[in-house]
């Protein structure tokens, strides 16, 4: 089910095409589907809880490469947890989504992170922590700094977004694309260099974006 990234498979000019599998993880109704829907269709609608898993694709034409995202939007409900590893197996990137107006969902995201850490080596997957529902800033329960701090200690990308008001949704996916491409370059230039810190260009750009 995992799709390997295929550097330079289709040469359009000199730009390689990469296919990346991205999973959205997090509790029920933190806005995973809305994020995916906003990103892919640039629209927002109140949606019913996801059944099982939804699959989207989105192609990004960047200067250096074409990136095709295969986005797996998982249902947050517990009943699907037993099948969730099916969805995130072979993923290149994961978005851990929480609701900034619901503290519990951040704790839940931390548990998801533990699951991911069991499954992947640190350099195998790009993980981003996403505080969604910025439009509910008035009811905020999780301070920006708290999410930021946690992301920093774990070496995750971090951003606060709003699928509803279209705040930084594109940016987070772009940051992931940049990070993935960056790693691709590292792999190409120094294949022996493993386990590098993930703090780099992509991440710092992601951080400045939200302040």
């Amino acid at each position: 089910m995992a799709q390997e990234a295929m550097p330079g498979t289709f040469l359009e000019g000199i730009r390689p095409t990469y296919i990346y599998k991205v999973v959205l993880l997090g509790s029920t109704s933190v806005g995973k589907s809305s994020l995916a829907y906003r990103y892919v269709k640039n629209d927002f609608k109140e949606s019913l809880p996801t059944v099982g898993c939804s699959f989207f694709t989105q192609t990004l034409n960047l200067e250096v490469a074409t990136v095709k995202f295969e986005i797996w939007d998982t249902a947050g409900q517990e009943k699907y947890h037993s099948v969730c590893h099916l969805y995130y197996r072979g993923a290149h990137a994961a978005l851990l989504v929480y609701d900034i107006a619901n503290k519990e969902t951040l704790n839940r995201a931390k548990l998801w992170l533990r699951d991911l850490e069991k499954e992947f080596l640190p350099d195998e997957i790009v993980i981003a922590l996403v505080g969604n529902k910025m439009d509910l800033a008035a009811e905020r329960e999780v301070a920006t700094e708290e999410g930021e701090e946690f992301a920093r200690t774990k070496g995750l990308l971090f951003m606060e977004t709003s699928a509803k008001s279209n705040h930084q949704v594109n940016d987070i996916f772009m940051a992931i694309a940049q990070e993935l491409l960056q790693r691709e370059r590292q792999k190409a230039s120094a294949p022996s260099l493993h386990g590098r810190s993930t703090v780099d260009l992509g991440e710092s750009r992601a951080r400045t974006g939200c302040c």
Binding site: M1, T28, S29, S33, A36, Y37, V40, K41, D43, K45, S47, L48, P49, T50, V51, G52, C53, S54, F55, F56, I71, D73, A75, G76, Q77, E78, K79, Y80, S82, V83, L86
Partner: protein, 546 residues
């Protein structure tokens, strides 16, 4: 009147019973039913004086007074708290909580609770807030059980309460509709099966075996919408009543072409899906099955209905991949279902979307956990074929242009509405139970009127299928319309006419209608749902959950 299992002595007021026990029970009933208090009735938005003497509903004399004068003096503490929590507004009248009164006067309540009395689902209102009420229901059930008996139903003047115990779950229906207890029980069975379709029987049993007090809502989170949809769909539609799928009328050549394309696309996929369906707005366009599954006999209508309810009416954006259990096929195993809209270029309608949406949904049922990419490939293949031939556009246009038909279409002006389920036809058709009915038109445009009409249908259905005295033909003059039910070995037909029609006139109209149905059957029904061969036939189908 209490309908209990044969050996029971119905605890009516006259029946000899230990006095305190009887008292407790009556009060409990009053709480659980929270029925016939007049204040309650007045508060409701939906009034309904439909009670003719018909229908064998016998009033329970004890119920109403109990509710009116709060007779809870000698009741156990648990019940008193429950009463205090559930009936505050209704009793005092002064500061009557409008929402609470409205809640109580709903046409139908459906509750699901665990054996430990933990709330799992309530059709209306937050089940959390109903914990006490549900506790009372469980108390009632266990009380009767402790006497070596089982409570099945309570019929009061204007409400029917049905209790259905299914494994570790208790389902309760409190209804003011004219559905019979048996019909309500079937509806509860559907609710139960929809829960199984998400969790499987084994899955639920395992959870409760580990912890009896487990809060099943954790696993069912998000499924409330699915159950709501099931129940609201049942309120003004014949699918549950007739146990058949509603078909989308489609020109026969188009249906044949689309069916063929679906069959070929499904057969070409590796692994081939066990079942492939096309649906629009919850109505079936066509279906194709692996021969192994087809030869296994009927595709159970209720399984099909659960699947369509879960995935068939537009699943949002993207392609869905989810484990799903078909409880009649195998209550302990999971299939993996793929669902996606065909032809992504459908315009955004905004708002509620729902039933007006012109999207055709493809559902593929696979036995392979990892079958997503195969299923997605199958969709692309089908989409390409349909697009190249121009069928995709035709299909979308047919769906968008209101693929239904009005009741005037058969050309009988007295006819207002009907439900028709053929019981004969090609063998393939019999394996896929279907029915047809026209769109609901004036005077059945409001929800209230639709409920009234389907109440009448339910009443006719229960009379015709009465286990004691089944009927073949039933002519029923109701307040605002006249109905005729007609059941033969070849069809089941319910017609609704303007009130002035005579019996002979009604039969004449139905005869005309039958001729029309015969003429249009290729347009109305999926006559030849195609089976297809797949290399490795797997009769057991669903793999057990890991």
């Amino acid at each position: 009147m209490m309908a209990a299992t044969p050996s029971s002595s119905p605890p009516r007021s006259g029946t000899p019973q230990p006095p305190d026990a009887a008292e407790t029970e009556l009060a409990v009933m009053a709480v659980a039913a929270s029925t016939s208090s007049p204040e309650c009735r007045q508060g409701g938005e939906e009034e309904e004086e439909e009670e003719e003497a018909a229908g064998g509903v016998v009033a329970a004399p004890t119920l109403s007074p109990e509710c009116q004068h709060g007779g809870e003096e000698e009741v156990t503490a648990a019940v008193t708290t429950a009463a205090a929590m559930t009936l505050p507004g209704c009793r005092r009248g002064a500061e009557e909580d409008v929402t609470a009164a409205g809640w109580r006067c709903r046409r139908k309540h459906v509750f699901v609770l665990s054996e430990a009395g933990k709330p799992i689902y309530s059709r209306h209102g937050n089940e959390e807030a109903l914990a006490a009420t549900m506790g009372v229901m469980m108390a009632l059930v266990s009380f009767i059980q402790s006497g070596g008996n089982a409570i099945r139903a309570i019929c009061s003047e204007d409400r029917t309460l049905v209790f259905e115990q299914r494994g570790p779950l208790l389902l309760v229906s409190v209804s003011r509709t004219r559905q019979s207890a048996a019909q309500l029980r079937r509806e509860l069975a559907f609710v139960h099966e929809q829960i199984l379709s998400l969790l499987t029987r084994g899955g639920i049993a395992r959870v409760f075996a580990r912890r009896r007090g487990y809060d099943l809502r954790r696993l069912l989170a998000g499924a409330e919408a699915v159950l709501d949809r099931l129940l609201s769909g049942a309120a003004a539609d014949g699918r549950l009543l007739l146990g058949a799928a509603r078909c989308l009328p489609l020109p026969a050549p188009l249906r044949r072409a689309v069916s063929g394309a679906l069959r070929r696309a499904a057969a070409a996929a590796v692994p081939a899906p066990a079942l492939a369906l096309l649906a629009a707005g919850g109505r079936l366009v066509t279906a194709a099955r692996q021969r192994a599954l087809a030869e296994g006999g009927q595709l159970c209508a209720s399984d099909l209905h659960l699947l369509l309810n879960l995935l068939g009416s537009g699943v949002g954006a993207g392609e869905v991949w989810t484990p799903v259990c078909l409880p009649h096929f195998n209550p302990d195993g999971y299939f993996y279902a793929y669902a996606a809209a065909l032809g992504e270029e459908e315009e955004e309608e905004g708002g509620t979307g729902g039933r007006t949406s012109g999207a055709v949904t493809l559902i593929l049922l696979s036995t392979e956990r990892e079958g997503f990419y195969a299923a997605a490939g199958c969709r692309r293949h089908l989409e390409d074929t349909l697009r190249v031939q121009g069928w995709l556009g035709e299909l979308a246009a047919a769906v968008r242009g209101g693929a239904g038909y009005g009741p005037s279409r058969p050309g009988a002006p007295e006819l207002r509405h009907f439900l028709y389920k053929p019981l004969e036809g090609p063998e393939e058709m019999q394996q896929l139970p279907q029915f047809t009915s026209p769109e609901l038109e004036d005077p059945y445009t409001s929800e209230e009127e639709q409920h009234r009409l389907f109440d009448l249908y339910h009443y006719l259905h229960s009379r015709v299928h009465s286990p004691h005295r089944p009927l073949r033909l039933l002519y029923h003059v109701a307040e605002k319309e006249t109905l005729l039910a007609w059941v033969t070995s070849k069809f089941e037909l319910y017609g609704c006419f303007s009130p002035l029609v005579t019996k002979a006139g009604a039969i004449g109209v139905l005869t005309k209608l039958l001729r029309w149905l015969k003429k249009e059957e290729d347009w109305l029904f999926i006559r030849y749902p195609p089976p297809y061969c797949a290399a490795p036939a797997r009769p057991e189908g669903a793999e057990a959950e890991g």
